[in-house]
Amino acid sequence: MIEYYIRLKRKVLPLWRDRWVWKMAWRDARHNRSRLFLLVASLITGIAAVVAIGSLNHSLQEALDQNAKELLGADIVINSNKPLPVEVTSRLDTLKVPTAADAEMASMVMFMNTKQSRLVKLTALRGDFPFYGQMVTLPPNAYEQVRNGRYAILDETLATQFEVSSDDSLKIGNKMFKVAGVVTKMPGGGGLTSTLAPSVYISLSELDSTGLVQFGSRISYSLFVKTADEKQTEKVVEKIKPMTKKFRYSYETVERRKEGLGRSFRSVYQFFTLLAFVALVLGCIGVASSVHIYAREKREDVAVLRCVGSTGWQAFNIYFIQVFFLGLFGSVAGAGLGAAIQKIIPVVFKNFIPVDLPFSISWTSVLEGLLLGAIVSVLFTVVPLAAVRFVPPLTVLRTESKQVSRRSRLKLIVIILIVLFPVLAATWQTNSLMKGLVFSLGLAAALGLLALVAWALLRLVRRFFPAHAGFIFRHALSNLYRPNNQTQVLMVTIGLGGFIIATMNTVQHSLLGQVEFRGNTNQSNTILFDIQPSQKAGVISLMKDYQLPLNQTVPIVTCRIRELKGRKVEAMMSDTTNRIPDWALGREYRVTYRDSLHISESMLKGEMQHFVKGSKDSVWVTISEGMQETLRVDVGDSLVFDIQGIPLRTKISGIRKVDWPKDPPNFIFVFPSGVLEQAPQIWVTATRVGEGGSASRFQQELVMKFPNVSLVDLRLILSTVESLFAKISVVVRFLALFSIITGLVVLAGAVVNSKFLRIKENVLLRTLGARTRQITQITLIEYAYLGLFAALTGILLSIGASWTLCRFFFEIDLSVAWLALLIVGSAVTLMTMLIGWYNSREVISTPPLQVLRKEG
């Protein structure tokens, strides 16, 4: 017996030169392109979402750059809550720069056509404001009229709401103003501003005549300056900067406004980007899971190829080429779709954007999308396809030959990259490693929890499903548990979108529930502000006339902090190492005095001390919990207040926990009685007004008799908060929709993937005597279960997540929006049924014989 060994001379071609591999990839793909397409279709929506949001960001930045001056309306704006002193204005006069001014305050306005009244933002204007951009009015000359007489113009929303037309008049303070028109566009005023505080505009020269400017009224004054160029801007800044501390005003330049806006948009934008990113990650999961099934299905083919001499790599490459190019195709489609969605985006985001967005496709974002798509098509296909390399050729002889599970280096590297992918991509999108990490961990936790809930749900249903249920129901259920059905993956991918929407609804509901005024408790729902001491008796007797309960009558004294723990606040504000925010140090505090706790308060630490007459010691005051943390003070610390120019030495005697929304008004600082009685003050009363005619008659009479008193209807605030939420939720829903669609595409892919298995099952059922109707029913019920379970998974987890958010982040009670959850649940279930059934039509209608042939 001769025994010899010859070395084989096998040449290994690199992938790009191995023509056979490319040929096989093409041949194998050509006949089920639609099916292969579903492998990567779930990428499309993800990429589309990322590209759309990216494009939005680019055009937003561009628009901000181009319209920065319009946002401010001037080159420099000086803000103050007192009219600017001559020292400042005279300095500006020497520079001979054009100026304009406005004064803003909250005031009641009565619409004379209907005699209804409402608290609005009253803006009194002088000069050519805005210097940049345009105030668009209807009719166009309306502002001209305002400048030259007792005319008013008002925001369109307000005019619509109170059905005001051009011949009507408004009662503002003591005076009547004729309506000159409506404002349709104001530079810098976005949709949100006018929702929160709709404006009425009058001339600044008419403001005094209204009698609204009284002691205690909060008015913010702005002076708008137009400069010739950057140099002049710098000059102006030089002049006004040194006196900011002394006269307590601040100024803003175009550059600063741009930075500020850019910053706030960035964080909003990052939040939206991450939402879009969720859709992409879902798409990746979809791709990986369907490629996994695909690879498993190709096992026998691979074995045959290996049998006739292909290497493991060649077999792998055939399928890799397919999915990679399909992935690229999916990315291109996604980027195209994302660019197209740009058209809708300004509609969805209009409330967040203060400038007109030009429709422009950002090629950077499109490229980013393509790059992301290419990365994803490699990362998320290599792992499931890696198994192809190790299919034992023996499979041709014995189908169920055991696969030796081999750890390949490639697979390990790719798995590490997959773990890093969301971290890196999210970091790249948000420019912050921390955010990237938090987002990735959060997403991983959400997916993990969803998977856990899905798993538990599946087990529970299996365990407790009624055994005596009809055949169709039992059979449809057992279909969910067929091997390789990916039921759990589907529940997670479909459930995630539902989870986002459900969480948003529940949190929204809980927050609104906080502001809502519950049933028959006697809580105040109306607050009367700015009552001068001389008006106090009159207002109270008016309330009595209308049989309104006088829940609170509270004095308010305005003051500032002069020293904190022995340090001057000016010094602290210019000290960069100081960690107390400037706004807290420099702001105006509205304090009250009393000797007992209000029903919304409880003592956390220390106690309320009474003032001992004649004592030379400090006055003991209490502070609210939140502000105590912000100001970094504790019981025993000293504070010097500046009360209308007079210093008052105090010490913190206690810390109150305040339930702010409960029975307002509530206060940060409460002084003891006996100290502030002589200080200039105004009064506030709180009451509960019923619905209907008597309420509006009261309001009318109040505005007539006491025009400077502001009435705040807390129910109005509620509806304002509600509409604010409505606007945010449009965007969140819009982006969550991408996730849901991705989930449904993954579903479609999975349905098509399991087609052959399901055809076989159905043929078996038919052979056993099932009719088409029954098979259709089984299919529909199966997907109804799937949809229901997915929705339940998302909703269950959303309740948990909402509870966590409410408890620890918003610190409010959870209140579940059952109706909204029901709607989300039914919508998800119905869509799942529809998609499942649509993709199963062929399965349902295939006649048995054809299947036997295919088996051949």
Partner: protein, 230 residues
């Protein structure tokens, strides 16, 4: 003296089932000469398929050696064995094993294309003609009957002019008429192409038309019969 294309020595295959080992092949030894025809017969479970798989290098033995065309299979890795199969062997299976996404002619061309050969169409067309499928070149497997599919598989097996052809119950899934056609084809091509034939079969009639019959039982070759030249 004829060249030895396949040498099997002390071939043993064991499977661990639970805590005891199952010996499926037990020290099998034989040699096959170029151009000859062999039949392996035996009761179900006697180890025929296992033996064939080992001979073709589709699996690795527990002990013993297989030498194919002078190459010792044990010493090679999976990809090298695949290359060897492509160079020297052909396969025909009981369940045909055509690639469902490829047409008949594409299925036939695969082994040659794998080698990087060009202009393989002509040879594939010619072979399909010889197996009687000249007008079904562009049909997919699902559009062909079982017998037709097996004839495509035979064309694929012969396109590389293999030195040795392994067939595991090639007629097992066919009716008598189709089975007859397939057998004639296999034997004819064996004659014309001087291919060594290793046939696993339950069909005694077919076995009797070979040069030598190896009868297996319980993992051993229990009988070796030389047939008179027909």
């Amino acid at each position: 003296m004829a060249e030895t294309v396949l040498n099997v020595e002390n071939l043993t295959k064991e499977y661990a089932s639970g805590d005891r080992t199952l010996t499926v092949l037990d020290h099998v030894t034989f040699e096959i000469q170029a151009g000859s025809r062999q039949a392996i017969i035996g009761p179900s479970g006697s180890g025929k398929t296992t033996l064939l798989g080992l001979c073709a290098g589709l699996d690795v033995p527990s002990s013993g050696t297989v030498t194919l065309m002078g190459f010792k299979l044990n010493a090679m890795n999976e990809d090298d064995r695949a290359y060897l199969r492509n160079q020297y062997t052909g396969f025909v299976f009981q369940n045909f094993q055509l690639l469902p996404t490829l047409t008949a002619i594409e299925n036939v061309m695969v082994p040659l294309e794998l080698r990087g050969d060009k202009n393989v169409q002509t040879r594939a067309r010619e072979l399909l003609g010889r197996v009687g499928l000249g007008d079904r070149l562009h049909h997919f497997p699902s559009q062909l009957s079982g017998g037709e599919q097996q004839r495509v598989a035979i064309a694929r097996a012969f396109i590389t002019a293999p030195r040795i052809l392994f067939a595991d119950e090639p007629t097992g899934n066919l009716d008598e008429e189709n089975a007859g056609q397939v057998v004639e084809l296999l034997l004819d091509l064996n004659q014309q192409e001087k291919t060594t034939l290793v046939l696993v079969t339950h069909n005694l009639e077919l076995a009797k038309r070979t040069d030598r019959i190896l009868r297996m039982k319980g993992g051993r070759v229990v009988e070796e019969m030389l047939m008179p030249v027909s």
